[in-house]
Symmetry: C2
Subunit: 337 residues, 2 copies
DNA sequence: CTGAAAGCGCTTACAG
DNA sequence: CTGAAAGCGCTTACAG
């Protein structure tokens, strides 16, 4: 059953049927004709072929959600929030969403434009895009492409991006810890070489201590290879073995904090009595750990939603220039420090 | 840049270019011609237009992951596992995956076939499909459609489905509790009217008690409206107020167990000393709650993967008849009982 | 092994 | 307000 069959049954031209199917062409068909044709459409449950529409309209009405190709993505509470926001944002639109997963080995050779063509999408949101930096680098050169990044902002980025500012978050943490009279404050650092967020949080941490006249010592610091729980666990283990433990440890994200807590609990160190722990992200699990994690909330849902809205504007041509949207983080005081 | 441009530059026909782009047509073009054309393809970074391909091949090479339209979906650890498995399963194939979210209000009127057309997919996996029962009912009548359900199996289902058998799981729980000499065993029940899984777990619970000659009392039972944490919390609250608390509570899923634990902890009831708690699902968080949750593991990742593999076989016509795959659950003994 | 041509199912100027 | 026709960019019998 295609548009021609409907036209035949309704005794009109395909052009007329096409106009009736297009909600943007309300006034173009007489009510009488419309009624007649709609009856036929109903009767046969006619649904226009999307591929044909896409081919002739040069638009697929589909957007791509681009992530690294890894099942772990979906395991991360950080993405959970982002994706929930994306779903929320797509709701009022009638766009479809295609999940495009980019493998490490292909990220190098791909061009942004190819990716869009290959997967037939009108635009793309990038999650964890620093892991496919090769690919995304191009966004800088073709800022007119409908693509928006999420987080991992740095000052050089000129493309569209939605992110949460790290500085105020770390500032709030330091103020809070200073008020609690901690004097030996350490940090479990993230992968600063690959993640600007990790880098920025570290810098903001140092700045925060300084502001409150608390001494910074590199020995009260330990680096993690990645942003996951396991890295946190092992880093904490290394740190414990070499000694130099501070009174409280600010972790570059919640996953690291959980790993660290797990190690400390394993060796019977009490939190926060013996060592305080602070996280960053406010992933859902943070309310469930024991003790509950004091952390900084990034409004991931709002961010995901904003990313979609920005993207749609870019696609529809309402925004021609890149759009950058900054969100503010918020300290969530709970039990772990 | 389209196939005609490439043909022109390479001085061959579009048919030849098309054959070269199709990996399934290896031998059809002479190595010489192939080399010549591939050079041009490389040079211009030619990527064929997917919509055009879909239109002429009658296949989009895309599958739909159908879920209820709710951001909470992505918040559920149960889906986390399923989706991770789907990602894993899609990896070796080159299919794209489209996330199709069905709103409550549209689920009624939709036909399965419409859904496929409307979103331009070759097949569909259904998650939480009991929430769109109206829609999925049709699968029964058109078992030839490439669609596979996940979980919520019941004996009447004749369509393709991948599920985890509830009986052995509940059986293991009961045997374990009997061995621990619990005599007053209760259950926090799921929404049995809408979820066959909830229903089956309840029935298996009763059967399990009987097998171990432990008395069943309906008063040691409380029903939840939904399968989420909040329902568990409130049901536990109701239960507590009316009294009749058993020594240990088997919950219809982990989310309910978390809700129940949260309420009990709020009122300072110690787990498992005063009341034991058992969950069902082994969602990741179960290792993180305090105490860690004793629960039953459903191999969600394997299930998601199997669903995709089944679907692909259905699409390619390798399986003509519906395929039903059953997985076995496994008791995970931890601290909460 | 290669090419000319029809066809996939739509949309959209253009003419009336 | 309606229709005839060209065009979107591919694939695939068919013929050679």
């Amino acid at each position: 059953m295609n548009i021609r069959d409907i036209a035949l049954k309704a005794k009109v031209s395909v052009a007329t049927v096409s106009r009736i199917m297009d909600p943007g062409k309300k006034g173009l068909v007489s009510p009488k004709t419309r009624a007649k044709v709609e009856k036929v459409i109903q009767k046969y449950h006619f649904v226009p072929n999307r591929s044909a529409q896409a081919l002739s309209k040069h638009s697929t009405h589909t957007i791509g959600m681009v992530t690294p190709f890894s099942p772990e993505i979906v395991r991360s509470p950080y993405f959970e929030g982002l994706i929930a926001g994306i779903i929320e944002g797509i709701k009022p639109l009638s766009y479809d969403i295609k999940w495009i997963m980019v493998r490490d080995d292909e990220a190098g050779g791909l061009k942004l434009n190819d990716l869009m063509q290959r997967h037939a999408v009108d635009g793309m949101v990038f999650l964890a895009w620093r892991l496919m930096a090769e690919l995304v680098k191009e966004i800088e050169k073709r800022t007119h492409l409908p693509a928006v990044l999420i987080n991992d902002y740095d000052a050089h980025i000129r493309s569209s991006i939605v992110y949460c500012d790290n500085k105020p978050g770390m500032k709030q943490i330091c103020a809070f810890l200073a008020a609690k009279n901690y004097s030996k404050i350490g940090m479990l650092r993230g992968p600063e070489n690959v993640s600007p967020d990790a880098h920025e949080r570290y810098e903001a941490f140092k700045a925060g201590l300084k502001q409150h006249k608390i001494g910074f010592h590199e020995k009260y610091t330990e680096k993690c290879e990645r942003f996951d729980e396991q890295s946190g666990f092992h880093a904490m283990e290394r740190w414990y073995e070499r000694g130099d433990l501070p009174q409280v440890i600010v972790c570059a994200n919640d996953d690291l904090a959980w790993g660290a807590m797990r190690f400390l609990q394993k060796i019977k160190v009490r939190i926060p009595e013996q060592i305080g722990i602070v996280g960053y992200d406010d992933a859902p699990r943070s309310e469930w750990t024991h003790p509950q994690l004091t952390t900084v909330r990034q409004p991931t849902e709002e961010m995901g939603k904003a990313a979609i809205e920005t993207l749609i504007k870019l696609i529809s041509g309402k925004d021609r220039k890149p759009v950058q949207i900054k969100f503010e983080p918020q300290l969530m005081i709970r039990e772990s420090a």
